[in-house]
Amino acid sequence: MLTNYIFIPIAAAFIAYILNKRNRKAGAVITALVSAYLLLSLTALYGRWDITQSFNLSLMGYKIDFLLAVNPLSWLFAVMTAAISILIALFSINSQENFKFSSVFNLNFLIIIGSMIGIVFARDFLTLFIFWELMTWTSFYLISAGKKKMAGRAAYRYIILSAGAAYAFLMAAIFIFQQTGSFAFDSAAEFLVANSPAQSIMLLLVISLPFIVKAGIFPLHIWVKDAHGNAPKEFSPFLSGMMLKIGIYGMIVVFYQLSFFKIIENTIAYRGLPLLSYLFALLGAVTIITGTILAIRQEDMKKLVAYSSISQMGYIIIGIAIATPLGFSGSMLHLMNHLIFKSTIFLALAAVIYRTGTTKMYEMGGLIFRMPLTFAAYLTAIIALAGIPPTNGFISKWVIYQALIEKGYLFLAIAAFFGSIASFMYVFKPLSTVFLGQLKPQHQNIKEVPLLMKIPMLILILVIVLFGVFPGIQMNIINQISGYLGIETVNYTLYSIQGANGAWNSLLIFNIFSAGFIIALLLFSFAKKSKLVGLLDTYSSGEYITDAESYHYAYQYYRPFDRLFDNLAAKSLTDFYETLTKNLVRSGEGLRRALAAGKLQNYALYSVLLFVILAAVGWII
């Protein structure tokens, strides 16, 4: 039964909360067990795309249906949620020993898992909304549980944006309900196609608002950095890997299942693409560029990776918005791969934070000799993120490039290229300043993290390489999704993908890369053996170094580049929103003084007036 997947985690959440009060590790163990159960039973569900479940509720004369169903798309998202939860739970068994709010963490985390599965299985607006709100509020508590001073403020920014968007969504849903008498997606889609295009487009744009916020797309991305930077270190991988993706899920639902693309099919087009889709793609492009430029500037590693998440979301949006088979497949590939490598990055950084207790990059250095496995995990993940073959990150970006070049979308392609090359810069910054360079004296005695924290990282490394060599595994499910949504499929085999103007064969590339590596290794090992010297014995213009701290280049790593964008970055969007709020409050204050002047009767009068106006509007519509 589908409800099991939703309510078992939610029920387990309270058990975990109670047990965790007794034993710090119990909550995380329960989380891991529940997610393992979810993963196993979801795997058993594979291929059974006909399971549905529904409940009826009569309320004030309205008959409301709650519909749940499985399809390849929901299945993929549910499996991804369960899989990443296992790894995070395993990781947090040890890492939460000293975390004050660990019981609250596990409570909320399990509820989020349940509600996310609820979201992806939901087939009507009301179910979606209920679980969406559950997820939003629980994640709000998780983000504000971070120890930082700013955590509360970041969480408020997140909740205000999310809640505002969600209520707009609810309004649109209720409007559709009034017209059709049902919250179900199917009937809504029928109604929207039949309705006047202008109104349908407006409704769908409003419906997609909460998803845009959650995915961190350009004008509404301001919550991402602070929320990621301040969330508990174990929650960041989930926040960045899964919760951003759930926004993408929502957008796919809007685009395909609510037939947004069908409605705008015959509107004005640019290069064969409806202008509205192109605008969405352009939003993705702007997201890539802003995310990238801001990521390069960060000195806090979690914020840096958060901005990089924003920029990677841009790729996914571009691929979905241009709606070609290659674009969609590339997006879905990138979505999965981004989950994998971004979780790896966040887990590796969480391991570093666990040992050093800081997130400022310039306070660290040379950790590679103390934490080699963490370094290996980070290195593999950034190779994937930067899109360097033979890892999974390259494949998905390559497919997206193919899609863009096929149609000749020049400006989208420039943004994609920019984000890809600039990602070398921002991923190299933590590599260089945290893991390489001089080891700080206060970190001399750091040890590698315990075994239970190593296992998730190891698994993720293997998965990155596995999907890098055999993208066919992913393409299998993606083609099922494409088929389900009515998109043409892409030709693939286990280790190759057919693009628009060229093919990608990852096994071959993996082999040739190994060959090149072996030739270099042979050359290296035949030459004279070298002598190992310490890190402080480096060229320093003849002067001998005594303290490592002053011989580490870490602060403002890309200053010359940042200087190019100083003016732009000074005008941050956050400031813009804050000024806007301030002005709104001020004008509201002025209005109040002019109209109400503190008399209670006036307020009553205005309320009645407003009600009448609303009623009139509702009647007219």
């Binding site: 260089s432 072996i518 004279k528 480096t538 010359p560």
Partner: protein, 298 residues
């Protein structure tokens, strides 16, 4: 079995040939620069002696990441080499798309960056940070050019792009799209780190940047890596804009011409500051490349 031996022989042959040719080109470049400066210059075979000497010297290492970086740098370029058609020699050039080649080259850069920063020398870090910033400068126009070419010929393999220019030499992209060829030439100079764009290896400023700690065999391997990188970049240019070649001799000749011209241009200019270099790349080459791309896609 024989097939495997044949293939391995091919691997080794191409690797050795490119190393030798790259070192020869480096020697020629030193001679040209010397002649421009009214010097006699070192003998053409000087780089061979340098490499031989470096492999005979003692060396120090700063731990396994230092070793791994050097191996990854050389291995990355050798792997890239097999995807490029060199005249009639082409191992896997059918499969290798041109975007793949650009990104494979990044493996080598990443390896070198990792190894040298792993030495713990801040001058290496400064050099690498400059190199990465500059890379963002020149790769953007280059990728726009590739975008336009792939869109124009509807194939993304280097081999296909080369074949598309077959026939008369007027089909060469150099004559078909001269603006694009010029932009690519400027980018080529930037890629090879020649004079106006060499702030990342400024010897008297940051102690030769990325290679500051490399001596002995490490420097030797990086020299070999550099030589193969030169061949890859020149071969890409020749394949994309000069129509490739029938056999390896003509191909080498075309590469030599491009190399000599690039060296001559390089020896005329003083050095750009980093942000000025990026600004330059984003102003002129990128602007021209976008104009040309718009012309092609419409």
């Amino acid at each position: 079995m024989i097939d495997i031996i044949y293939r391995i022989g091919h691997f080794v042959l191409i690797t050795v040939f490119s190393m030798a040719l790259g070192l020869l080109f480096m020697g020629i470049a030193r001679k040209i620069v010397a002649r421009i400066q009214k010097r006699y210059g070192p003998p053409v075979y000087q780089p061979y002696l340098d490499v031989l000497k470096l492999f005979g010297k003692d060396a120090i290492t700063h731990g396994f990441i230092f070793d791994f970086g050097a191996i990854m740098a050389l291995g990355g370029v050798i792997a890239t080499l097999f995807f490029i058609p060199l005249g009639s020699w082409q191992l896997y050039s059918m499969e290798g798309t041109v975007i793949l080649v650009i990104y494979l080259l990044a493996i080598a850069s990443l390896g070198m960056a990792m190894g040298t920063v792993g030495s713990g020398n801040p001058q290496a870090s400064v050099g690498i940070s400059r190199a990465l910033m500059q890379m963002l400068g020149y790769e953007l126009p280059y990728l726009v050019i590739l975008f336009a070419l792939i869109y124009r010929y509807q194939t993304s393999s280097v081999w296909g792009l080369m074949q598309a220019q077959a026939g008369s030499f007027l089909n060469w992209n150099l004559f078909a799209y001269p603006l694009m060829a010029a932009v690519a030439f400027v980018v080529l100079i930037g890629m090879m780190g020649k004079k106006p764009f060499d702030s990342m290896i400024a010897p008297s400023e940051i102690g030769s940047g990325p290679v500051v700690e490399s001596g002995g065999k490490y420097l030797g391997m990086l020299l070999l890596q550099k030589s193969i990188t030169i061949i890859i970049e020149l071969a890409l240019y020749v394949n994309l804009f000069l129509g490739g070649a029938e056999n390896i001799l003509i191909f080498t000749f075309k590469m030599l011409i491009v190399w000599v011209l690039a060296t001559m241009f390089g020896s005329l200019f003083p050095r750009f500051r980093i942000e000025d270099g990026i600004k330059f790349f984003w102003k002129w080459p990128l602007g021209i490349a976008i104009l040309q791309a718009i012309y092609i896609i419409t």
